[in-house]
Amino acid sequence: MTQKKARFGTTLAIAGTLMAAMTAAHADTLKIGIAGPVTGPVAQYGDMQKIGALMAIDQINAAGGVNGMMLESVIYDDACDPKQAVAVANRIVNDDIRHVIGHLCSSSTEPASDIYEEEGVMMITAASTSPSITEKGYQLIFRTIGLDSLQGTLAADYIKASIKPQRLAVIHDKQQYGEGLATTVKNLLDEAGIKAVMFEGVTPGDKDFSALIAKLKRNNVDFVYYGGYHPELGLILRQSREKGFDAPFMGPEGVVNSDLAAIAGKAMEGVLATAPKSFDQNPENAALVKAFKQRDEDPSGPFVFPAYSAIQVMTKAMQATGKTDPYDLADYLRANRFETTIGEIGFDAKGDLTEPTFEVYTLHADGSKTPVSQ
């Protein structure tokens, strides 16, 4: 037993030396870890992050690399499982990688970011939207995607600027996501002097909204913000139009779903919603979209362009500082603004984007959506 242990130790030592030698031999490459689900039920989201990051790495290498170094991607699979994410983070640290794109699921990103911060690894997530990740005051953790809660701010701004309702109603489904957003919208509008005449919850799974609709009619409501998901909003819309209540509705990303069109039918036409920007529709990204299409990859996923931009800002910081040290890069990221495929962005002290990556859309009865010009 002791002999076995000793032998194992020797093997490790040899392997370690070998690896150190290999790293030394390839000093002209810089490894970047891409961590996310490659397997498991949400592997398709991991794929979005991967194709975005790989495209950026390939294009940067084709243009001569960064500071004379070629980028090399190393893909790690956390299967969106917090336990495996911790294992992956430790492996990345052991593999001596100091720059990571990932993780994807907020539940994986949170435990992994602890390890990266402690071991001096820079991590930029292109997909995790949970506000709590950046609450801990990390130095090396950033994200290139907006927080869910920003949708409430955006919706309130839009209602303030473009709708100016006289008799606003805010309805929600009593769940964390829906009620959270509805409360944000209500409070922000309240501060701006637009008081909600109704603020009410509905029961998720409920089918009969006739009483609620009669109340909306009675209060002469002229605009409704709904915090929640599509099954309830679909029914409210459908039953409202049947009962002659015609005020416009607005909702968060949770209602943007092709099923909404099936449930609400024609009543869906003109509903407003905040949703992540479709970066692939931006004409400035046309060349990049074409490059994805040539590789037979789909650029329309919500995490493709944020992942691309994560590599962009990281390498821009390396070029500007001439260093690869995560702490120098982090200082540079916080101090500067960057032109990226998701628009001009900057980072605040917590590492979050200073601009929301959401946009207001008008939904149509055929299930499509068009951005609202403000």
Binding site: K207, L212, K215, E242
Partner: protein, 308 residues
């Protein structure tokens, strides 16, 4: 009329609509309880199967090019009644009859098992996403001063009242006039004695399951069209509400189930009218507790007399 009275009228109309469908489903609970003294918890799922059958037959008829509204409605209603009744009968045959005479808790457990089985079976067969019913009937009438408050009654609401009224009258006539109805009443009074007098009680029990399922199917078709979406989980809440209605009216009593359904529906609508609508279930169930405190047998229930 003043604004408030028009508003209350509107909410009464909404409440009566939903209440009459509760009553239709509640009949199934109350008839079964009246005869064999068990709660058929799978009854809500029979209602759900009714909505799915209606959905499938409506889509089928529309794709076949049959778009005449009365024909589509009638055919959907008939198919839903046939399929749901078959399920009602099969549930009784498979899950309850072999256990009759055993401890009372056993059929309760199989009922819950049956409910879970049916829910998951439909979920696997039809998917768990919401399916949207085509909007067959739209529009209605509106009255009242548009400047004050406009009361709207949709055609669909009127159809629900009419169909409920017809079904209830048919049921009342059947129970009071027909030979089978008399046998049902006899079974409810004393199952053993009825059996001794030469009536096939198993057949009568099966019949009550079939009648209950048929009325649940009617409610399923109506509510499916009224609300517009269906999913495999709607049976649970509908079953719970209908069961409440049955208990409220006095379980075992058919007029009680009708009254209980209407009271529950109107209470919900009026609560949602004057309080935040999330409280409507709270108030409805508090009402149930209150009524049971003062009338443990429900509004129209008869106290159980120990038979000697």
């Amino acid at each position: 009329m003043t604004e408030t009275s028009l508003y209350v009228l509107q909410q009464l109309i909404n409440g009566l609509t939903i209440g009459s469908t509760y009553a239709l489903i509640a009949i199934g609970y109350t008839m079964v309880y009246g005869i064999i003294g068990m709660i058929n918890f799978a009854h809500g799922e029979v209602y759900m199967i009714g909505t799915y059958t209606a959905f499938i037959s409506i889509i089928g008829l529309l794709t076949m090019g049959i778009s005449s509204l009365p024909i589509v409605l009638l055919l959907a209603l008939i198919t839903a009644i046939i399929i749901s009744s078959t399920y009602g009968y099969a549930i009784e045959r498979v899950a309850y009859r072999p256990l009759r005479g055993g401890p009372r808790l056993i059929p309760l457990i199989t009922a819950i098992g049956m409910s879970i089985f049916l829910q998951n079976y439909i979920r696997l067969a039809q998917g768990s996403r919401d399916l949207a019913m085509p909007a067959l009937i739209s529009g209605g009438i509106e009255f009242g001063d548009p400047a004050v408050f406009e009361v709207s009654i949709s055609w669909m609401q009127m159809i629900i009242w009419a169909v409920t009224l017809i079904s209830m009258t048919a049921l009342a006539l059947f129970i009071s006039r027909s030979r089978l109805g008399r046998a049902c009443r006899a079974c409810a009074q004393d199952l053993k004695m009825t059996n001794l007098l030469g009536i096939d009680t198993n057949r009568i029990i099966a019949l009550t399951f079939i009648i209950g399922a048929a009325l649940a199917a009617v409610a399923g078709v109506l509510l499916g069209l009224y609300y517009g979406t269906i999913n495999p989980y709607i049976g649970f809440m509908a079953g719970l509400k209908a069961f409440t209605a049955a208990v409220l009216g006095g379980i075992g009593s058919i007029p009680g189930a009708m009254l209980g359904g209407l009271i529950l529906g109107v209470t919900e609508a009026l609560t949602a009218a004057f309080f935040p609508s999330e409280y409507k279930d709270v108030v409805a169930f508090s009402l149930l507790v209150l009524i049971l405190l003062f009338r443990p047998t429900g509004l129209l229930g008869k106290p159980e007399v120990e038979k000697v």
